[in-house]
Amino acid sequence: MEIAFYLSALVAILSTFRVITHTDAVHALLYLIVSLLAIAMVFFALGAPFAAALEIIVYAGAIMVLFVFVIMMLNVGQESIERERRWLRPGIWTGPAILAAILLVVLAIALWGGGSLGGISGDTLQATEVGIRLFGPYLLMVELASFLLLAALVAAVHVGRDEERQIEPDRTMNEPAQRGPDND
């Protein structure tokens, strides 16, 4: 499984890199799907088939397909590709890239010095054990995670509501809502 782990990890990194650098949104999303599949493979190689299956079903299967549809429906055209291209001028990304490269060198040195590239061992984690864990010691976290989702939902519903019909025609996003008479 070792070679599978390293290969899929490499694929994940390369495809994520393309997600960031690609100027076409749909292509970038396709790379993101590849990246998620590769991460699922990493999970599988580490002995967590349940997490791998979830990764594919939930992320690659459901969420990403939704993303692709939305992007296709939004119909982002040549203009946004041009804009993305402008944003990705060398001047903009060379600085962070150099910094990240330095971090990479540090990591590589640390790898050679401190840790060792040992083989992957350990037990395979089945769905049953994950379930027992989740509803045993981690029960409170499951409940709190549901509140996290609720909070995210409330925030998203509030901020992302379609208010076209309720906004007065003369107000735009750039003008603050005027209510009080003494507003400056």
């Binding site: 640390a110 709190l144 509140f147 409330v154 925030a155 509030h158 603050p176 809502a177 003494d182």
Partner: protein
């Protein structure tokens, strides 16, 4: 793993706050009523506050491997609940004039408090992460609450994007720690650190976590978001961000460092000391040129967190007590300052009245409100007879006790710089009114809950400044159960 009655009693504050979220949500689903939602929220928060007394009867207790309820976490939970109550009363007055849905705010606030309480009690990385996210995710919504207003939307988006980056660091750090120590409990990680041998990975993991928590606390290299978010978010939300989120994250940081000590490690020790020093100096210097009170408070909070970090660097017998005392004074003072800003900006009408010119001559229009602002500014500057002095005194004492002379020098220099801009705000209150159009609090501000709360805060700041013994005794009793 079974939950017994005493476990449930310990969990009572969390359960009550959770139940309140559901009740408020169902209430909104049934009928939108601003006053009803606010009242339910206040009742829930008060009930949770009272239930902390019941929790005290069973502390210290560990509930599941994730949460530890000891006197320390009860103290910070109480502080978070009080701050949330204050923000609720402020928000009620503020949202009266809000021409959009108002009730969601209370749900978001309650969820965020729930996250803060989890964070304060967590003794396990999972609880840390879920707690931190549960606290932060509602904050995005709260910062962008007046989303038709461009600055508010900008504040929400900025906070969300940068917060997500910080969360990535946090998770990466946790993964490294887990890979090296094989456990997610703070105590287990501490034990494996003491064994030695894997210093590099553990150091990288803790370092990444420090980056993430430093972002949440807006310490200096990670502070760039602070002024924009403080300025853009509506005033009651800024107050919440400046108090509840800061105190919960700091309480957690102290617990993490007390149970998994890294102070033996010189590199990390030096890094945190440098962060503390830079926060004090940079925060104060940047605040000098601000004309917007909310931005000014943002920069000054960076400096205050820098002073607080001295206690973490020292990590001596006085450290936990210092953090408690400083946090209480900082929270009271910050709530009071943002309270005045919120009252002057209430009811909501677009952009908050945060420019210095809005406060010019406030004394001649609203003498009591100006007096409150004066007390708060004096307390922020750390003048004797106010609570801020007690906090600063502790920060200096803890620095001197550990012989951290350049951090002590940083506190002194920072306070001296700080005095200038706090006094500048104060002087403006007593000048003659300018020509500019002005914003003012409503005539009956003193009879409304927000106004009463601000007056009480001012009294508390003065009383604690003169007679701090009860507070110190209370914080002395708030010991942490390590391990």
């Amino acid at each position: 793993m079974n939950l017994t009655t005493s476990h449930l009693i310990a969990l009572l504050p969390l359960l009550i706050v959770s139940a309140t979220v559901i009740v408020v949500m169902l209430g909104v689903a049934w009928q939108r009523h601003h006053f009803l939602s606010a009242t339910l929220t206040v009742i829930g928060l008060n009930a949770a506050l009272v239930s902390l007394l019941a929790t005290l009867t069973v502390t210290p207790i560990q509930v599941t491997p994730l949460l530890a309820f000891d006197n320390y976490s009860v103290l910070f939970m109480a502080l978070a609940l009080i701050a949330a109550l204050a923000c609720t009363t402020l928000a009620h007055a503020y949202l009266e004039g809000f021409d959009d849905r108002r009730e969601e705010y209370y749900m978001l606030l309650l969820c965020s408090v729930l996250g803060a309480m989890t964070l304060v009690a967590s003794r396990h990385m999972t609880a840390l992460f879920i707690g931190l996210e549960l606290m932060s995710v509602p904050l995005y919504g709260m910062a962008a609450y007046a989303y038709r207003n461009r600055v508010s939307l900008e504040a929400g988006l900025k906070y969300m994007v940068l917060s997500a980056a910080a969360s990535a660091f946090l998770l990466f750090g946790m993964a490294l720690l887990y890979a090296e120590s094989g456990t997610l409990e703070f105590a287990g990680i501490g034990a494996s650190m003491n064994q030695g041998g894997h210093d590099l990975w553990l150091l990288a993991g803790i370092g990444m976590m420090v980056i993430a928590l430093g972002f949440k606390l807006s310490l200096v290299p990670f502070h760039l978001w602070t002024p924009d978010v403080y300025e853009g978010a509506p005033a009651p939300m800024s107050a919440f961000l400046a108090t509840v989120s800061k105190l919960a994250v700091f309480a957690l940081l102290i617990r993490l460092f007390e149970t998994a000590p890294v102070t033996g490690n010189d590199v990390l020790h030096t890094v945190i000391a440098v962060i503390a020093f830079a926060s004090m100096i940079v925060g104060n210097l940047l605040a000098l040129r601000q004309n917007n009170i909310k931005r000014l408070l943002g920069y000054s909070s960076i400096a205050h967190l820098g002073y607080l970090l001295t206690a973490l660097v020292a990590s001596n017998s006085l450290a936990v007590e210092t953090v408690g005392v400083y946090m209480v004074t900082y929270v009271l003072t910050t709530l009071g300052t943002f309270g005045v800003v919120a009252l002057v900006s209430s009811p909501y009408s677009g952009v908050d009245a945060a420019d210095m010119s809005h406060y010019r001559g406030l004394f001649w229009r609203r003498p009591y409100l100006a007096a409150v602002m004066t007390v708060m500014m004096l307390s922020l500057a750390g003048i004797p007879m106010t609570a801020g002095f007690i906090g600063k005194f502790y920060a200096l004492a803890v620095g001197v006790q550990s012989g951290l002379w350049w951090l002590v020098a940083g506190i002194v220099v920072g306070s001296a710089i700080g005095l200038y801009y706090y006094l500048r705000v104060m002087v403006g209150l007593y000048l003659h009114e300018g020509e500019q159009s002005r914003r003012d609090a409503t005539d009956d501000w003193g009879q409304r809950s927000g106004g009463v709360m601000v007056l009480l805060l001012a009294i508390a700041v003065l009383v604690l400044g003169v007679y701090p013994q009860p507070m110190i005794a209370l914080i002395d009793a708030a010991t942490m159960a390590t391990g």
